[in-house]
Amino acid sequence: MKVLMFGWEFPPHITGGLGTACYGLAKGLLKQGVEVVFVVPKAYGDEDNNVAHIVNASDMEIDLRNKIYQRYWNNLTYIEIGSKLVPYMGFNDYLRLEKKLQVEGENIEDGFYKRKFSFSGKYQSNLMEEVHQYALTAAMIATQYDYDIIHAHDWLCYEAGIAAKAASGKPLVIHVHATEFDRSGENVNQVVYDIERRGMQAADKVMTVSNLTRQIVIERYGVDPAKVFTVYNAVEPITIKKKVEFKKHFPEKVVTFLGRITFQKGPEYFVEAANQVLQQDENVRFVMAGSGDLLYKTVRRVAELGMGSKFHFTGFLKGVDVDRMFLMSDVYVMPSISEPFGISPLEAMRAGVPVVISNQSGASEILKNALKVDFWDVDAMANAIYGLLHYPTLHKHLSVKGVEEVDSLKWENAALSNLKIYHKALSK
């Protein structure tokens, strides 16, 4: 079987869970004997010269030329298309990016997360142009390659998927990693929503990363439940133990939040929980690693609570810094308000760090060896953190069992479920 896959990032350029998921899934499919043609819009400002340099830490030995993977990669065709589209981008984010490019140019990846800009809606047409341009290119590619099925990841690729389907007549599977409701709460951008809806309606099968997301797809987008399937994400086992030398130079235990500091991720609940814990136990440090539009507000709140000396911001972390962060962490917290899946807790568990995650995350549907709380239940969150810090038996149990559990979640298995869906789409 051969798949034409539209994604929006691929190694080495991984900025978060989505790229990791696309990569893992593609690799799993390759192992199942599927051939993959992977198409991505190349992020602006990110030139080829770094390809061999690995970016995101946790998952990341992703040198495509690595011998170990060579035989799989032989079946992979990788195509980049010039474009400004980058992952995780909602409409407003895109506007910021546009503006920033005009103002400053390069280096989006960092700048994008760090700065705030305000805009009018006048760039809307540009975004649509990008999307359509990608779709046009997709249609062209669709006629040039030989494949059995089309697989499109998330909204920016849906139009491309639809175009490819129209051009080739091959079945389309769209893969929903997040919806506009996850990105924007109830302030949904109509344009984006329409694209998503169109994609879901046009698709022969829809894959979602959790039942939580599946429910949204069915209820909010009116998609026939019979064609929506959940395929959970997995995480790469650590094959080569990267030796990251790191020594903590203070005695306190460390509780970590790692992710974008945006509404969706629930940073404020982490801050309030930290406050509760610190009132009871001063020998703890809290770290918020990441950046985003709620960063300043969060900093102010931390100052207001007088936790400044115990609560630290690192900014956006990548590469080896993420590994270090896990190494020094005693507890990892993911308080997301809406998290279609959430791969980061799996990465923490893989590093032996017990996790506290919100019930409003797709990952909570499958993880057993994790503490789960409702994101708004600050008391429960603080209590879980305190429990992990003060009851060593529990910490050890979850650390050991967590590694075991995550190691059993394999991309090959996810790919197998994925393959079944391909077959369903083809047999129809």
Binding site: A380, Y391, L394
Partner: protein, 534 residues
């Protein structure tokens, strides 16, 4: 003599509330009063009251040929006294017929027999005292928590004056032998042992309403045929199960009551069996052989060992930390501490911490009100931490006089805590710190505290729909192969008995006085959660 020995276990855990770490040292009310009361009342309505009436009717109808035995844990008794006195009265009514035998067990439904023999004996005596005072007769038959049994435990039980004990007819113990005879303890032949027929017991308690079971639908005719199919050599069929099987685990709609109502008629008409109690059977039947049980067995999970409570490091840690306190508690006279000490030992708390994901996991989940074993562990350890703080403060202050004592605060808990103590034990303690306590405690403090606490849960009630949790699983299902209980074995230290406690004087409070302000916010959260969950 051919007898069916029907014994039903009545127990309801005293569930702990969500106790947050920031409450340690401040709030000492540990129980989810709302939830406990709600469930007791619900089960009373669905199970205890109708079933007691049915038993009474059957006794009237069948006279001397229908006898039954019941065991009620002290934890359940206390809750009946607080929340459902009519249930208690209906049991007393059964006792008056003289055809219901009430068994002895540990007062707190505890695992003390596995670790601290002195404590175990104390609890058993306490329970027998209670049973005698409530039902007029001192028990002579013993059943341990969750039917936990070993040769050594049997010896101890015999030394306390009981002559017959009930336990599980675990396959690893019996091998090819039949559970349908009288056995005796391997080390103390004078202690007779009745072994549960798990097949026939689980057909009712576990499989009755299972439509994919080939025996479904189960009728009294079919059941009696199975009994007859066993052959005519068998002497005693031991049907041991949770009382709540009738009406709660198996809802009324399944026809469980009709089945039970028809069963005695069918049995008495078509078989040589009559329904007898353990003490009667003990007088009539001689043991055919000793049963060797070197390691503790129980009626729980497929393993039939003690791994449901002490099967992972979390459970062991909590259990050890708890029993490390034995000496200190023994030296402490504070009745509140004594009361909590008993309740914190209940096996249920450890059951909730079980991390078996396969096999018996669903059963554990059914009975647990925690989202996961980890929450159960954290919550329990938080409470235990507070208990330790109290205990230490108490021993520090123990040379002061005790008046102000436990007056204390919180305890919004039972609306009627005072009633609680039917048992003689508690009474004297209460006396010690008399008058004064009652007044202020009752009036002032609780009033304000109780209010918010109560209110919040009220909302959560409907939303939450708490499932039946409680008690012991019926689900033991097919025993299945394996697992020699052997390996599970209780850790070494268990054996050591408790040493003597030095008596200490009273404690004093002082510290107690603080308010439970924390409670309010916590509650709020819970309410929301209930809503969302639903």
């Amino acid at each position: 003599m051919k007898a069916i020995c029907l014994y039903l276990q009545i127990h309801q855990p005293l569930r702990l509330r969500n106790y947050r770490f920031f409450e340690m040292g401040q709030a000492h009310n540990y129980y989810d009063d709302y939830q406990n009361q709600y469930l007791i009342n619900r089960i009373a309505e669905r199970s205890y009251l109708p079933m007691n009436q049915l038993i009474l009717d059957l006794i009237k109808k069948h006279g001397k040929n229908f006898n039954i035995s019941l065991s009620i844990s002290g934890v359940a008794l206390s809750q009946f006294e607080w929340y459902a006195p009519d249930v208690l009265r209906s049991f007393q009514k059964l006792a008056k017929t003289g055809q219901v035998e009430f068994l002895a067990e540990t007062d707190g439904h505890t695992l003390a027999s596995l670790t601290n023999i002195e404590e175990f004996k104390k609890q058993v005596k306490l329970h027998s005292d209670k049973i005698e005072s409530l039902f007029g007769k001192r028990p002579t038959t013993f059943r341990n928590t969750e039917l936990i049994y070993s040769d050594a435990i049997g010896q101890v039980v015999h030394s306390m004056g009981y002559n017959i004990m009930l336990t599980e007819g675990a396959r690893p113990i019996l091998g090819w032998k039949s559970p349908n005879y009288m056995y005796c303890n391997a080390k103390e032949p004078k202690l007779k042992v009745l072994l549960r027929n798990y097949q026939l017991s689980d057909d009712i308690s576990f499989r009755f309403s299972n439509q994919s079971w080939q025996g479904w639908p189960l009728t009294s005719e079919k059941y009696v045929k199975w009994i007859l199919d066993m052959g005519n050599k068998e002497e005693v069929v031991n049907l041991f199960m949770d009382y709540e099987t009738f009406g709660e685990h198996q809802a009324q709609e399944t026809g469980i009551f009709e089945f039970f109502k028809a069963l005695p008629t069918e049995v008495l008409k078509r078989t040589p069996y009559t329904f007898a109690t353990p003490s009667t059977i003990a007088q009539k039947l001689k043991p055919i052989a000793p049963v060797y049980v070197p390691y503790p067995i129980s009626w729980a999970d497929e393993e039939r060992d003690i791994s449901a409570w002490l099967g992972n490091e979390l459970q062991n840690e909590a259990f050890e930390k708890l029993y490390e306190l034995s000496d200190k508690v023994a030296a402490c006279k504070d009745p509140e501490i004594q009361k909590d000490w008993m309740f914190l030992q209940a096996s249920d708390h450890f059951y909730y911490m079980c991390t078996k994901w396969r096999g018996s996991a669903d059963v554990h989940k059914y009975f647990s009100h925690y989202p996961s074993p980890y929450e159960a562990f954290i919550n329990y350890m938080n409470i235990l931490s507070d208990f330790i703080i109290r205990l230490n403060q108490n021993s520090l202050n123990n040379n002061q006089p005790n008046s102000t004592q436990k007056i204390m605060e919180k305890e919004p808990k039972k609306a009627t805590p005072e009633k609680v103590t039917p048992a003689k034990k508690v009474a004297p303690a209460k006396k010690a710190a008399p008058a004064k306590k009652a007044a202020p405690a009752k009036k002032a403090a609780p009033a304000k505290e109780a209010a918010p606490a109560k209110k919040a849960p009220a909302k959560k009630a409907p939303a939450k729909k708490a499932p039946a949790k409680k008690a012991t699983p019926a689900k033991k299902a097919v025993p299945a192969k394996k697992v020699a209980p052997a390996k599970k074995a209780v850790p070494a230290k268990k054996v050591a008995p408790a040493k003597k406690a030095t008596p200490a004087k009273k404690a004093t409070p002082a510290k107690k006085a603080m308010p439970a302000k924390k409670v309010a916010p916590a509650k709020k959260a819970t309410v929301k959660k209930a809503a969302v969950k639903k």
